[in-house]
């Protein structure tokens, strides 16, 4: 059984391909790390798989449902932390979580109880009454994760979930996610730049470069005898030149 299956999924912007002929398979219960340099097409792929973007060509099935045919059925069963987040800045953290739960079909009472539990689990209780617009970036990320989890999705899409979150919180969230996958409760599709964290978390890996899939498979198969970082750099950096030194840096101190 596949949680995600894409066939030649393509998205172009003004004729320029952002994702080109992407074909991946993510098994149910996998913790899938989707890696790539900036602008490689990671966020575009998540947007295509969650219905934020329409594909230019190809098809995608999520949890066995064709996205083009019944997007609402897919949306009910997935949770998403998108790039740029999806938070209402004029609601308090507690209101955001509870209303988000209700929008996903939870009863108000259940949504309220889960919102309070998530606020505690994500260490946001103290700021629960603050408007989201006043939250720091890391707090917003944690709240967005809470929103993605509140309705108990079968598949979780996380776009850079650890960016801007402190190390202690990263550790707590990492344990929570590992536990969810270990219990067979969820499949997770995650993008991240923090390769050490990804390597400790994921069971499967895909590496995208310039919109095209460059490597794909189980973690062990992709990294072989090396580390994930070595494979990643080898895969994405082969067409990059060395960085030229900026000779003028430090001039001001020298002339003082």
């Amino acid at each position: 059984m596949l949680a995600i299956e894409t066939e030649a999924l393509t998205r172009r912007f003004d004729g320029r391909p952002a994702v080109e002929a992407l074909s991946i398979e993510v098994p149910v219960g996998a913790f899938y790390g989707f890696l790539g340099p900036n602008g490689a097409g990671k966020s575009t792929t998540i947007k295509l798989l969650t219905g934020l973007l329409a594909p230019s060509a190809g098809r995608a099935a999520v949890l066995g449902i064709d996205l083009a045919r019944d997007a609402l059925a897919v949306k009910r069963r997935i949770g998403v932390v998108p790039d740029g987040l999806a938070l209402f800045e004029r609601l308090s953290g507690a209101e955001q979580l509870r209303i988000h739960g209700q929008l996903y079909g939870l009863e108000r009472r259940v949504a309220a109880r889960r919102a309070d539990e998530l606020l505690a689990a994500l260490e946001l209780e103290r700021d629960a009454g603050k408007l989201v617009g006043e939250y720091s970036h890391g707090m917003k990320k944690k709240l967005a994760l809470g929103c993605a989890l509140i309705h108990g999705p079968e598949l979780l899409f996380l776009d850079e979930p650890f960016e801007g979150i402190d190390a202690v919180a990263v550790s707590g969230i990492r344990r929570m996610l590992q536990d969810l996958v270990a219990r067979g409760a969820m499949t997770i599709f995650l993008t991240s730049h923090v390769l050490e964290v990804v390597e400790r978390l994921v069971t499967h890996v895909g590496i995208i470069r310039a919109g095209r899939l460059a490597a794909h498979g189980t973690l062990d198969a992709v990294r072989g005898a090396g580390t994930l970082e070595e494979v990643f750099i080898r895969t994405v950096a082969e067409d990059r030149g060395a960085v030229r030194p900026l000779s003028w840096l430090g001039e001001a101190r020298g002339s003082r």
Binding site: E95, G129, G133
Partner: protein, 545 residues
């Protein structure tokens, strides 16, 4: 860190030049818009409407000033000068507080640069004169008045007259900046906003109760508060200085001009200190709301959640507070000054027109909420396409809340009007409600298309309504004009037949037709929203690829 010798470090001219260029480019881009030719054309059309109006007002002001300067003194000079300065000051301030954007004065963005914040703020205040089309309009009117006065009696005193007008402009922008900073600080908390609204409403009710429905008593009370005009010091000082100049007493004008300059500098300095304190305070005193999942409104289900979110978003928008304060006050003014002057012979329908006008105006005042319904959501807008919610329900919830808000504005305005001018006939009340409800589906249905096809990211933290693009403003004008034309036809019929109840029947029928059309259009509008999701998210949430 100070420079050797304890002197303040000099700011490189290049840095200030770069800042001036930044301000200029931001203003230019705002004027030019982001949507190319259609937005440019819309802006030109708006200017084509506004410039002749501005020139006409300038010519009128010029003629008035010419006569006043020729008269020299007496009621003719006094009234004309007061009308120009108090009129321009009042409208400039009201428009600036409700419509202008405040980007130029937001020090938070600028503190990162190694430039003196006082100077940055000063430039921001000055650029608000040239960068804001409304300010340019008022300057045009003032220019007309100045030219009229100067042509009436050419001479050396014209230099002082020019100084008086320049000081008036500077003092007005400085006082507007001070009011903006004070209001932004005072209305930041929900309790403060509620308290401000309650104070104004209870104060009005108290005044009306005290006057016992006798407008003469209200007039007396307002005369007793005449000293309050000095709070509008830019107009009061300019009025005193210019009447002295028109009266041929330039020496008598000098203290007023000096007071004017001191007042402008003082207001500007206070505004700067408040802006700097706000910028440095960061999150201090941030507004708070429900801190637990169980708190909040008890509306069940998905639609309940949608309505709660929309209503809270709307009520927490500073402009909602401002409209709740301004509209009933305006209605009170109309009921006090205009309604009693309509003769009984004009007929019941004509006498009910102020009430009916407010039924329409409540929709116009709330138009930014139905012409740019997704603008304030920014990243939150992604939720509508990520969550399993039919787009039609999202649109319906937005429309329901915008309508409820407009209805509340109308109810408050009508209540104040009735308290001051007395109760209108029963048919007029029913007709006003029928008009307000009947025109709503027409406006909201058309407004949805504008919201989807021309969305614009709107600021959340400032009390501004300047969130509509020129194209949306123009579309709003067209939609409202068309709907108002359709709904004004029954008025002509009622006047001709002298049957006021015709209005109720016809407006209810038009409303039902509008509601049917709205319901037929809703699924198509929802599909349009789905199709345009990428462009909408790009505009309001900054999503590209």
């Amino acid at each position: 860190m100070s420079a050797p010798g304890g002197r303040a470090p000099r700011v490189p001219v290049d840095a200030l030049g770069a800042f001036a260029e930044l301000r200029f480019r931001l203003i230019w881009r705002r004027l030019r818009g982001r949507q190319g030719i259609p937005e440019l054309v819309a802006r030109i059309v708006l200017f084509v409407v506004a410039i002749p109006a501005g020139l006409a007002f300038a010519a009128l002001a010029g003629v008035g000033a010419f006569s006043a300067a020729r008269a020299g003194h007496g009621l003719q000079a006094d009234v004309a000068v007061a009308a120009v300065f108090f009129g321009v000051w009042q409208t400039w301030t009201a428009v600036a507080l409700s419509l202008s954007e405040r980007e130029g004065l937001d020090l938070r963005r600028m503190l990162v640069y190694p430039l003196p914040p006082a100077r940055l703020f000063g430039y921001g205040v000055l650029s608000s004169v040239v960068g804001d089309p409304f300010s340019v309009f008022w300057c045009l009117v003032l220019g007309g008045a100045f030219v009229g006065g100067a042509l009436a009696r050419p001479g050396a005193w014209v230099g002082l007259l020019a100084l008086a007008y320049a000081l008036f402009v500077l003092a007005t922008v400085a006082l507007v900046a001070l009011l903006q900073e004070t209001l932004a600080r005072a209305l930041r908390g929900r309790r403060a906003r509620v308290l401000a609204i309650a104070t104004v409403y209870l104060g009005t009710a108290g005044l009306v109760a005290w006057a016992g429905g006798r407008p003469a008593a209200l007039l007396q009370a307002l005369r007793a508060l005449r000293a309050l005009r000095w709070a509008a010091f830019p107009a009061a000082f300019a009025h005193a200085a210019v009447t002295s100049l028109y009266g041929g007493r330039p020496l008598a004008a000098l203290p007023w001009l000096a007071a004017h300059a001191a007042g402008a500098a003082g207001a500007g300095y206070l505004a700067y200190r408040l802006a700097l304190a706000a910028a440095l305070a960061g999150d201090g005193g941030a507004p708070r709301a429900a801190a637990s999942g169980a708190a909040g409104w008890r509306l069940p289900g998905r639609m309940g959640a949608l309505l709660e979110k929309e209503a809270k978003y709307l009520l927490r928008h500073p402009l909602a507070t401002l409209l709740a304060l301004i509209l009933p006050a305006l209605a009170g003014l109309v009921a006090w000054r205009v309604a009693p002057r309509i003769p009984v012979e004009a007929g019941e329908v004509v006498r009910a027109l102020p009430l009916l006008a407010f039924a329409l105006y409540a929709h116009v005042a709330a138009q930014i909420f139905w012409l740019n319904a997704f603008g304030w959501e920014r990243g939150g807008g992604r939720t509508w396409f990520l969550a399993p919610i039919p787009a039609a329900e999202v649109i319906l919830a937005k429309n329901a809340c915008a309508y409820a808000f407009s209805l509340a504005l109308f109810a408050a305005s009508a209540g104040v009007g009735i308290a001051i001018a007395g109760a209108p006939p029963g048919w007029a009340l029913v007709a006003a409600v029928a008009l307000h409800a009947g025109i709503a589906p027409w406006l909201l249905g058309a407004g949805n298309l504008v919201s989807i096809l021309n969305p614009r990211a709107a600021p959340l933290t400032v009390q501004r309504g300047g969130a509509l693009s020129p194209l949306s403003s123009l579309a709003g004008m067209a939609i409202f004009s068309a709907a108002a034309a359709v709904f004004s036809a029954p008025v002509l019929l009622a006047l001709r037949l002298d049957r006021p109840w015709v209005l109720v029947g016809l407006w209810a029928a038009l409303g039902l037709a509008g509601a049917a059309g709205y319901l037929v259009l809703l699924p198509r509008t929802a599909r349009l929203l789905e199709r345009h999701r990428e462009a909408l998210l790009e505009a309001v949430a900054g999503d590209e690829e």
